[in-house]
């Protein structure tokens, strides 16, 4: 009897050790990548780097201001398109879960989430770039907004579904009309969850390159015109890292570092905000 117990104990110790070991192993590549990018990128970053456009081949210096501004504009524009649409769709799906429309809409959201980003880029190319006859920041934003939508929709839906019905009943029993119940009670109570979905979706798209290749296209100059081609961080990294020049490689490392820091900060910020806004039910 004792011997069998011992065997069992040993088995669970071995099992536990394997889990811990594997969990530890998978963090190693991540840490190596982080350290490598930081090591290569951090030396490139200074005020000059952030405020100047890339220098032509052969000249030293130069920065990524065009890509930085471009990324901010393109992401802001996609958020403007995807966040309101996504939240409203999420509200619909959580409020009318049993309808046929909700079933098919939910299915579409799942499929959309699985569409490769390069395919989204190509579709937007045929929808917007070709008819307008020019690459543009706007078309890039539309492509990224399509990438954002499923994340915003699902996180809104899941958050709101977790709220108890009693909350809605409480508001309705006070004579509050339905739209106000949603906007003043349901959405504020699920705010933390919705916000973290938004943050995640932004973190997701800010590094997307493929959909921008033939939509925003890239631009070596500083530009804020949304109907013209625009540079962005992932595009700059893609173009410069594949170039044969060392200066440009360094620029790409610096841009990678900035992009990484942005995503990292966004994640930390999301954690803090959801903790602060989280509502005790």
């Amino acid at each position: 009897m004792d011997a069998r117990l011992k065997v069992r104990n040993t088995k669970s110790i071995v099992f536990k050790s394997i889990i811990i070991f594997l969990a530890f192993v998978i963090t190693i590549p991540l840490i190596i990548i982080l350290l490598y990018i930081i090591k290569q990128g951090v030396t490139q970053v200074n005020w000059h780097f952030l405020t100047h456009v890339p220098a032509p081949v052969g000249e030293t210096g130069g920065g990524i201001s065009n890509a930085l501004l471009g990324s901010i504009i393109i992401v802001a524009l996609s958020s403007l398109i995807a966040i309101p649409t996504g939240i409203l769709t999420g509200i619909y799906l959580s409020e009318n879960a049993t309808t046929r429309l909700a079933y098919y809409a939910g299915l579409c959201v799942d499929i959309l989430q699985g569409v490769p980003s390069i395919v989204v880029g190509m579709v937007v190319y045929f929808w917007i770039v070709k008819p307008l006859g020019t690459f543009s920041a706007l078309s890039g934003s539309v492509a990224l907004a399509i990438m954002m939508l499923p994340i915003v929709i699902r996180s809104t839906e899941q958050t709101l579904k977790l709220l108890p019905d009693s909350l809605k009943e409480a508001a309705l029993s006070l004579g509050v009309p339905y739209h106000r119940v949603i906007l003043k009670v349901i959405v504020p109570c699920g705010f933390a969850g919705i916000l973290s979905g938004i943050m995640l979706s932004v973190a997701r798209i800010v590094g997307e390159t493929a959909p921008l290749l033939f939509t925003a296209f890239g631009n070596p100059y500083l530009s804020a015109a949304i109907t013209k081609p625009m540079q962005s961080l992932p595009l700059l990294i893609f173009n410069y890292a594949t170039s044969p020049y060392d200066e440009w490689h360094n620029l790409a490392w610096g841009a990678s570092f900035i992009l990484l820091m942005f995503v990292l900060l966004l994640n930390i910020f999301t954690k803090l905000i959801t903790r602060k806004w989280n509502i005790q039910l």
Binding site: S166, L167, S173, V176, R180
Partner: protein
């Protein structure tokens, strides 16, 4: 002619195919406490939720017959107006978790976007919380979240929230079933105070509670209103055999 506050005649309600409330006719007079009791699934909660038109929010719900608030047909009134006039307190305390105690009390005004001067708002809050016997406990923490309170306090906050709208009638759906005995007795004590200004309709599983707090009792069985009489009469000499069986515990 003086109208009853709530009167129903041949009122029916369904959930899909389930005929939950059958041909109920009842007259409820002003400033009384009415207990509605009966075994589970007898339609008492459904009837209660028909009075402020919460029943119709369930998919497949349907009603028939006449239900009046004074002389007005509840089912031709705007449901939003009905719910202003007929407040409700639920089985589980459900204060708004995103609002402070203060804002919870005036939630009926704030969520409806009604603009009221601050002084008047303060007055409503103090008056409602006092009526709900909660003012002394929370007056120093009005701007804390309502969910920090204990269960019994939360339920009294919900009562204050209903009172703040100055309704004619307040419906209670098993208001103490989720509370401990001390909180229960404080809420029962509250019913006596509240009936000076409001008409209370209380659904309860608890016969002792019905006997303690109500002026009149309605007994529902299988969707029918079996008997409606003075509480004392009902508990000492019920007219219907089924009521007698229920009260003496021969079925539950």
């Amino acid at each position: 002619m003086e109208h009853s506050v709530i009167s129903a005649s041949n009122f029916n309600a369904w959930f899909g195919d389930n005929h939950a409330v059958k041909d109920v006719s009842i007259k409820i007079e002003k400033n009384q406490v009415i207990a509605v009791m009966g075994p589970s699934g007898c339609g008492k909660t459904t009837f209660l939720r028909c009075i402020n038109r919460m029943h119709e929010l369930v998919p497949g719900a349907r009603t028939e017959g006449m239900l009046k608030l004074y002389a007005d047909d509840i089912y031709t009134m705007n449901p939003i107006y009905v719910r202003y006039k007929i407040g409700m307190v639920f089985q589980r305390p459900n204060p708004f978790p995103n609002l402070s105690i203060y804002d919870n009390v005036v939630a009926g005004y704030k969520l409806n976007g009604l603009k009221i001067p601050k002084v008047e708002m303060d007055h409503i809050v103090e008056k409602s919380l006092t009526s709900a016997a909660l003012w002394n406990e929370v007056k120093d923490s009005l701007h804390k979240k309502g969910t920090f309170l204990s269960g019994g306090q939360q339920q009294r906050l919900c009562i204050a929230r209903a009172i703040a709208m100055e309704p004619e009638v307040i419906l209670f759906d098993e208001p103490t079933s989720a509370l401990d005995p001390i909180s229960t007795s404080s809420i029962e004590a509250l019913f006596h105070e509240l009936k000076a200004n409001y008409t209370l309709i209380i659904v309860t599983h608890n016969m002792q509670q019905a006997a303690r707090v109500s002026d009149k009792t309605a007994f529902f069985y299988l969707g029918e209103l079996v008997e409606f009489d003075n509480t004392r009469q009902m508990f000492t000499a019920p007219k219907d055999k089924r009521t007698q069986n229920y009260i003496t515990g021969r079925f539950s």
